[in-house]
């Protein structure tokens, strides 16, 4: 029975990775850049809720919405100030280094405002745990909320891209920015929208993550950010279903590895699986071969 519990926990952690990985994969697909500051937006989202609820006594639901709004603003602003001027730069390394710089900036800003002490985060999930099989399987409220959120996000995002004009614009921009412009699509606006969606999702992921693992520091977003990046690459960067599959697999492998092999080696196992997948299929599980445009 403990195996089932582990798998459920893995699904829950994997759902968080998947929600974060969406931000990486969408931004990569559309702006062709790796936004390494994405993980720190998660931390900002969690800190906003912490500050609102624990320090200002704000209603938790209101705090969640404020946090999403702040992260959206932050993501769009980062893109506008730091990345947009570099679009068309000779080397994509320039943007990558800038993204790492933004990541350190956000971490140190949080350090300055909230200090280095780890805060204990109060869970934002008002659902009671569910016990099955005579109490042998326990599913926490956080787990239910996380998996449910992941499902809702995936369904709405897929529908958004398939059915709406901005969604189709995203597909067009991800394939060919020049041709998209000739269709009358505002490429910069579409990239901003992508950052907005990714950052809003990062806020949700941050709140879910800190509700499930209730400790918060300026470095909280960094490791899950890297893991989610791996999940995105694992699933095939640029692919939305890939982010889901990559995230879920990574979460389940990590939890099972921790439980049955060694908790110290859990991350090693995760990285090993990644390396093996990339050796066999360099574009990731669902990745498509990138065509070079002339």
């Amino acid at each position: 029975m403990s195996f089932i519990n582990y798998v459920i926990n893995g699904l829950s952690l994997g759902s968080i990775y998947a929600i974060i990985a969406l931000g990486y994969t969408m931004v990569y697909g559309i702006a062709r850049m790796l936004n390494f500051a994405h993980g720190d937006v998660i931390m900002v989202g969690a800190f906003t809720v912490f500050f609102g609820v624990s320090m200002q006594g704000l209603n938790p639901i209101a705090a969640v919405f404020v946090s999403i709004a702040i992260c959206i603003t932050l993501g769009v602003t980062i893109e506008f100030i730091a990345y947009r001027p570099l679009r068309g730069a000779a080397s994509s390394l320039v943007v990558l280094i800038t993204a790492i710089g933004v990541s350190y900036f956000l971490q140190n800003l949080a350090l300055l405002i909230f200090g280095a002490n780890t805060k204990s985060f109060t869970s934002m999930v008002p659902i009671n745990p569910v016990r099955l099989a005579g109490g042998e399987i326990v599913i926490s409220g956080e787990t239910i909320m996380t998996i449910l959120s992941c499902i809702i996000i995936m369904i709405s995002l897929t529908a958004f891209i398939k059915k709406t004009k901005p969604g189709q614009a995203m597909l067009a921009v991800s394939e060919d920015k020049g041709a998209a412009q000739l269709m009358g699509i505002n490429v910069n606006g579409t990239i901003s929208l992508t950052f907005a969606i990714g950052s809003g999702l990062a806020a949700i992921a941050g709140i879910l993550l800190c509700s499930a693992y209730p400790s918060l520091s300026p470095y909280t977003g960094s490791m899950p950010g890297i893991k989610a990046f791996i999940a995105a690459v694992f699933g095939g960067i640029g692919s939305i279903p890939g982010a889901l599959i990559g995230g879920i697999l990574l979460g389940v492998i990590e939890i099972l590895g921790r439980a049955y092999i060694s908790s110290q080696l859990a991350d090693v196992i995760v990285f090993m699986v990644l390396i093996i997948v990339l050796l066999v299929k360099p574009t990731g599980l669902l990745g498509r071969k990138l065509q070079e445009k002339v």
Binding site: Q168, A169, A172, E175, L182, M183, G184, N186
Partner: protein
Amino acid sequence: MAMLEIHDLEVFYGVIKAIKGISFKVNEGEVIALIGANGAGKTTILHTITGLIMPKKGRVIFDGIEISKIKSHKIVSMGMAHVPEGRRVFAQLSVFQNLMLGAFTRKDKAEIENSLKSIYKRFPRLEERKNQIAGTLSGGEQQMLAMGRALMSKPRIILMDEPSMGLSPIFVNEIFGIIEEVSQMGTTVLLVEQNAKKALAIADRAYVLETGNIILEGMASELLDNDEIRKAYLGE
């Protein structure tokens, strides 16, 4: 009044002057051909007109409005469509999705539906393959899709960049036939072509470009009889 006027246009790629101060105009209803060898600057001119490249000097005037500083994506809704070189269809999207992206700036759903029907009528092959992924179409079919996609914006002027490039002779004839048809439906056409013979055969007037300058202009029929042109561009 000319529909499209280009005045003293200068375009640079870094320090290299690609377009060296050219002027020309396109009147409503005309088919204008820009011909010239590789590297003469034909594509650069089209890119500058639709705002993909900013000129260093000079003005582009469309319907009396200066558009040299207007962003590309806004020019489409003013009634100008551009079929880019190499077709550039969205290879991973379906034929239908490509066509609908062509109508991106339009709002009226019923009107868009009508345009779609008329394009399917003109290009029955596209209707047969509407659910097929564009990247799997043949070169000629992709060119038809690129044209259909541009027509979905209901343009008053359409810019076409090397529509016959890399196509089999049968498709080349078909594509030129379509361009004539588009023109007969009332759309103004600015055509860039290396296939000078075919281009001059359907054009009203033409400009001959050489390394960033217009070296010759005139009625297409006269240029077809010009000895210099015959030697340099028609291979005779």
